[in-house]
């Protein structure tokens, strides 16, 4: 079933195709800058859950640059740029940033395809759990 909510067809040049009357399924980022800088970080000493898109993106950037493949970096950049319609630059430091080995698998699965990475970063229900050997 399809539903057009609370509006008549007034368009005289083509048709109403989608009516949005309610929230989105993905987080809508509040971004003031023209260029988004995604920093790396230290993800090791949990327990912690990353729920905001920026912190999830930082985790993914740390993973892609330090543990991932070249195409993971490309995919991450594409997903964030497509969704935000802004340029993205990364700032990940091999000396200072890391992910505890217990937590690496969380990202690896998401990098399997475009949709899963988008869901992980921008999905309202998605989060990343940070943990370590002591828990």
């Amino acid at each position: 079933m399809q539903i057009r909510k609370s509006i008549f067809e007034t368009n005289s040049s083509s048709t109403h195709s989608v009516v949005v009357d309610g929230g989105t399924d993905y987080e809508v980022p509040e971004i003031k800058e023209d260029i988004i800088v995604i920093n790396g970080n230290e993800f090791g000493w949990g327990y912690e859950q990353l729920k905001k898109w920026k912190s999830k993106a930082e985790y993914c950037a740390t993973y892609a640059f330090l543990y991932g493949r070249e195409k993971d970096v490309t995919l991450l950049k594409q997903v964030i740029e497509d969704y935000t319609n802004k340029k993205v630059v990364f700032n990940v430091d091999k000396e200072d940033h890391y992910i505890d080995h217990q937590s690496i698998d969380s990202a690896e699965e998401a990098f399997a395809e475009y949709a899963s990475l988008k869901n992980l970063i921008f999905g309202k229900e998605s989060y990343i759990t940070i943990d370590n050997d002591n828990h």
């Binding site: 079933m1 399809q2 539903i3 057009r4 909510k5 609370s6 509006i7 008549f8 067809e9 007034t10 368009n11 005289s12 040049s13 083509s14 048709t15 109403h16 195709s17 989608v18 009516v19 949005v20 009357d21 309610g22 929230g23 989105t24 399924d25 993905y26 809508v28 509040e30 971004i31 497509d82 969704y83 935000t84 319609n85 802004k86 988008k118």
Partner: protein
């Protein structure tokens, strides 16, 4: 409320305009809505007009319109536009009286609001920022008789226009920028910049108003990215020509949409016969 059978499914339209398409695999025999151009006459002189309307443009044959619409089921929506459809007010009112059980909606430019002297089911108002207060007064006064929908074109209107409109108006339709007609020469990098701003920011306004999009805007602003496939399947009403068609009663042609280059003679065809051809394209 309106309800009719269309091919293998039922369409229901509630009093607030909500439309329910009751099927998982709807195959229509008739268009649920028809974009109807009744005149090419307009004195607004919009530099971006994709219809290239002028003050001495031609208008429609109301008898042909009556012949085409009279047998359509109650509940099919006729979105009347131009040019300025109020240039044909007398004929339009006659047609509405003769086909009183149809849903007549019209789109007019805000500069022509004073000329409207009847109540269609809904009024699309092409927004002009310099007339914002006047539009607000009109909507406050008339919305209970005719549902008012503010029309904004991404690029022609700015994102600041949208922000202002969301504060004062409940229903907003965002249209894509058409690079046809005078829209070809009007297009420039500032328009593209505004389109990109719409694309970046539009998601922030989904909770506050009823915001609708045409297919071109969906494409230009990539609205789908904010929604899951499941929700999108419920919200998306179909591509141009799937459940809708375009009728140019001035040139007596029909097409998938007003953007279509491929147009066909109406001749003696009925709406059902025309739509059958549209569905095959």
């Amino acid at each position: 409320m309106w309800e009719y059978k269309n091919g293998n499914y039922i369409v229901k339209i509630l009093d607030d305009g909500t439309k329910l398409r009751l099927s998982d695999n709807p195959i229509p025999e008739l268009p649920e809505s028809i974009d109807v151009k009744i005149t090419n006459k307009c004195n607004a002189g919009c530099a971006f007009c994709h219809e290239k309307s002028t003050p001495d443009g031609k208008s429609f044959d109301v008898d042909l319109a009556y012949k085409l619409f009279n047998d359509l089921p109650s509940g099919i929506e006729l979105a009347i536009g131009g040019g300025n459809p109020l240039e044909c007010s007398r004929d339009l009112k006659w047609l509405m009286r003769k086909c009183y059980y149809k849903i007549f909606n019209i789109t007019i430019n805000a500069v022509h609001l004073d000329d409207l002297d009847f109540n269609p089911k809904a009024i699309g108002i092409s927004y002009k920022s310099e007339l914002h207060d006047k539009i607000k007064m009109f909507v406050d006064k008339n919305d209970k008789y005719s549902q008012c929908v503010i029309h904004l074109i991404a690029g022609v209107h700015t994102f600041e226009d949208l922000k202002r409109c969301t504060k004062d108006f409940k229903r907003i339709l965002i249209l894509g920028y058409k690079k046809v007609g005078r829209g070809i020469s009007y297009y420039n990098e500032n328009i593209e910049k505004e389109i990109q701003t719409f694309k970046q920011e539009i998601g922030h306004y989904f909770n506050k108003n009823i915001i609708a999009f045409d297919n071109l805007a969906l494409e230009q602003l990539d609205v789908k990215r904010y929604f899951s496939d499941k929700k999108w399947d419920t919200m998306y009403m179909g591509k141009d020509g799937e459940f809708s068609m375009y009728l140019d009663l001035v040139e007596k042609k029909y097409a998938v949409s007003s953007r279509s280059e491929e147009r066909f003679d109406i001749g003696d065809l009925t709406i059902k016969e025309m739509f059958s051809k549209i569905r095959q394209i």
